[in-house]
């Protein structure tokens, strides 16, 4: 059993955790003893990259190029970046297209910045455990769309990690809470972090965590509280000191943000606090008194939005607030007393915060990692897709193929044909969102579907949209005539193509000393060795399931792959791996079906539900 770790890649802080003897723990930095890694990256003037606390310290000193809360920009296009973020981030100016940062003479993407955070977490874990780490589970906000998920996966790959699963943050948190299999009932997870808000409604029964509905906003978080308080502070300071120009002074703005954040934290336990600003040309610092009451007035509108999302989630789950047996608080912003009050009033029960809200997501990620590694067998997460998925049809309308809150994995098959005579391809535009018109939803991808030149309406292509357990879409087209299946080249609208990720691996200065070609080769070798190992096992288990010629085919493909491994040509290895994959397909299918049927045979539903046995 290989080791798999859980990572919470947060807007404000990131953590890495693992399960030891069935209990999840956050892994501390062996050097500093810290659990939280501030999600801050600084590029210093002398070309160094600082990550975490070191970056936060540098930020305080005002040196270098600072990128914090990069999660806000993962997988989105420039046209969706708001005014505040345009001020905050060192963006490369553009009206549309993927977000890029200008760092000295380099251009960087949000996944590359996140990769720095992931590499630092990896370093921590490797030092603490004394062994290399490569397999991980990373959490994402439940309300992340496909592009945002893909961007997170790209970040993992850029950090040299194999991302085995993306897990939704609120569901991960529920795993950390529901470690006791006897727990049952309906649970609402209220996850209010630094930059994102999610609410998920789950039904727990016999170790199964079934998500009924999820709702949220990937641009709503504690950052918005800070921003509101900073705005209030700046305005008050400008009015009272008679210096209106400070409203647009970047240094004062940065100070105000920091003061606002600190005041917010103090007001969790205190009823009144003082915020201080050093204003240009003033001898004494400016001080403003902020009571908790006033603070709550400033943030109320933002905080109340979370309840609107809760109402929507309950509606989709077809239950009312009184049907919820417990509410779990996750994320640093749930420490704000007003937030707790609103939650208590809405659900009519006292919310639970027994597990540190900063750590609970990472702990849950570790539990999910343990499930994948085969350690935990009695728990299973059944999650949903947060946003509807569809395609653009006549008149710029979005036609839904998969509705929000559909259980994943899921597939949907659509038949396409040609609108005119003799066309050779059909354009498919994949969208995600809840709005009626295509232009109001997020564009995920566009692709061309090759068809035979025939009279209009004669060509028939079946397109299968598959959403996997990560909530990520893949598309397969099947030619109706030949039944040939081919994977469609999907060009992500805001994400990175595989080639771009590879280029970034090559560009990455962290990898300068390592040979990247070697690294890509190593990835291919790992995949090849894994399939060889599993083929070997499968041939033994399924010896009786194969016709002699099928067996020969597998053995031939196996030795071809072994031979390919003797070379150092990546493409040869990839091709031979794909060939072995194809050759083992019938065996794999029969093995799975037989395993399931054996477990089902002469057993009742209750026995299956009660067993911890996985196939």
């Amino acid at each position: 059993m290989s080791r798999i770790l859980g990572i919470d890649l947060g807007t404000t802080n990131s953590l890495i955790a693992q399960v030891v003897d069935g209990v999840p723990h956050v892994i501390r930095d062996p050097q500093t003893g810290e659990r939280l890694l501030p999600s801050v990256v600084v590029f210093t003037d002398d070309g160094k990259v600082l990550v975490g606390q070191a970056a936060r310290d540098a930020e305080r000193n005002g040196s270098g190029i600072v990128i914090s809360s990069v999660k806000r920009l993962m997988g989105i296009g420039m046209e969706h970046v708001n005014e505040d973020d345009r001020k905050q981030f060192p963006l490369t100016p553009a009206d549309s297209g993927p977000v890029r940062f200008t760092v000295g003479n380099q251009s960087m993407t949000p996944p590359q910045i996140s990769a720095h955070l992931l590499r630092e977490l990896r370093r921590r874990a490797e030092q603490a455990l004394g062994e290399p780490v490569s397999d991980v589970v990373i959490t994402v906000p439940a309300y992340f769309n496909d592009s945002q998920r893909q961007a997170t996966r790209d970040a993992g790959r850029l950090a040299g990690l194999q991302v085995l699963r993306l897990v939704n943050e609120p569901t991960a948190a529920s795993l950390a809470y529901g470690l006791d299999r006897r727990d049952h009932g309906t649970v609402a997870v209220f996850d209010f972090g630094g930059g994102t808000f999610d609410v998920s409604i789950l039904r727990l029964q016999g170790g199964i965590f079934e998500v009924l509905a999820t709702n949220g906003n990937t641009r709503l978080g504690g950052d918005d509280f800070d921003r509101a308080v900073a705005g209030w502070l700046l305005k008050k300071a400008a009015d009272e000191s008679g210096l209106p120009e400070i409203m647009t002074d970047h240094r004062v703005f940065t100070q105000a943000r920091r003061e606002a954040e600190n005041a917010k934290i103090r007001l969790t336990t205190e009823s009144v606090t003082v915020a201080t600003l050093v204003l240009p040309g003033m001898d004494t610092p400016y001080e403003a008194l902020l009571t908790r009451e006033e603070f709550e007035t400033i943030i109320r509108a933002t905080a109340e939005q979370t309840i609107v999302h809760c109402r929507e989630a309950l509606k989709d789950a077809q239950i009312s607030p009184k049907d919820v047996d417990s509410v779990v608080l996750v994320g640093g912003s749930t420490r704000v007393p007003l937030v707790r009050t609103l939650v208590r009033e809405f659900f009519g029960i006292e919310p639970l915060a027994d597990i540190d809200p900063d750590e609970v997501v990472a702990l849950g990620a570790a539990v999910q990692a343990d499930i994948l590694a085969g350690g935990t067998k009695d728990m299973l997460l059944l999650d949903v897709v947060p946003l509807s998925l569809g395609i653009e049809t006549m008149g710029g309308v979005m036609t839904r193929l998969i509705h929000r809150n559909t259980k994943i994995p899921c597939t949907v098959v659509e038949e396409f044909t040609t609108p005119a005579d003799n066309v050779t391809s059909i354009d498919i535009h994949v969208l995600q969102g809840e709005r009626e018109f295509a232009r109001d939803n997020r564009s995920l991808a566009r692709f061309k579907l090759p068809v035979e030149p025939l009279p209009a309406g004669m060509a028939r292509v079946l397109v299968m949209f598959l959403i996997d357990a990560n909530g990520i879409l893949s598309v397969t087209a099947i030619d109706e005539k030949t039944k040939n299946e081919h994977t469609v080249e999907v060009k992500p609208s805001y994400g990175l193509t595989d080639e771009q990720v590879e280029e970034m691996l090559i560009d990455s200065f962290d990898n300068a000393e390592r040979d990247v070609t070697e690294r890509l080769l190593a990835e291919a070798v790992v995949a090849a060795e894994s399939i060889l190992l599993h083929t070997n096992k499968a041939l033994k288990e399924g010896a009786d399931l194969l016709q002699p010629e099928e067996r020969d085919g597998i053995v031939r493909a196996e030795s071809a792959l072994r031979k390919a491994l003797e070379s150092t040509d990546r493409q040869t290895i990839l091709d031979a791996t794909a060939a072995l994959d194809a050759a083992t397909k019938p065996l794999a299918d029969r093995l799975l079906d037989r395993a399931v049927n054996r477990l089902l045979k002469s057993r009742t539903v209750d026995e299956v539900l009660a067993s911890d046995e996985a196939v």
């Binding site: 299973l380 997460l381 994995p409 597939t411 397909k585 539903v605 196939v615």
Partner: protein
Amino acid sequence: MTPSHDNARAPEIDHDPDSSNYFDVLGLPTRLALNEKDLSDHYYALSRLYHPDFHQNALPAERLRALRRTAAVNDAFTTLRDPVSRGRWWLEFNGRKLSLAPGVPRELGSLVFDVHDALERFRSAEADITEIERFREVTRDELGRRNKQLAALFGELDEAGASRADGLLFTRLENLLAEISYLRALTRDIERTLEKTGER
């Protein structure tokens, strides 16, 4: 507490994941009048066996098959769970072509007209909230009555068997499903309007 379940003779699952019959996929007898607990028990049991989480350590092709099997189980469960989608699926499964954009069911014509009229007047402040609330009650009653009718009709259809059910039964089911869908939409419209008032 969940109610205790008599498992002295709980059913075995004998399922066919490749069947186009959703009941077969879940290993349930093809009976429209299904028990919700049986449905979710079968769904959970099959999820425990097929879910990709438990097949991480297998051939890539096996992982893909587990993924597709789970997708099929999810689809079957979601379709059968809601009585309306269950009924619509069953009609199509038995070769009935359903109209994509059915009009207002005849039975509901006057109710639909009255509700829309009241909502319209309410938005322009010509009707008061009690009238809307009264319509909410009427709509809920109509919906409740039809849900009961649907349960009874499911029983009748199971009794007759799909092969012997006559066109009349099919038509009754189709009409009833259309009415329920319409009443659900109407209830949503009313709720949404009332909610907006609450926010004001």
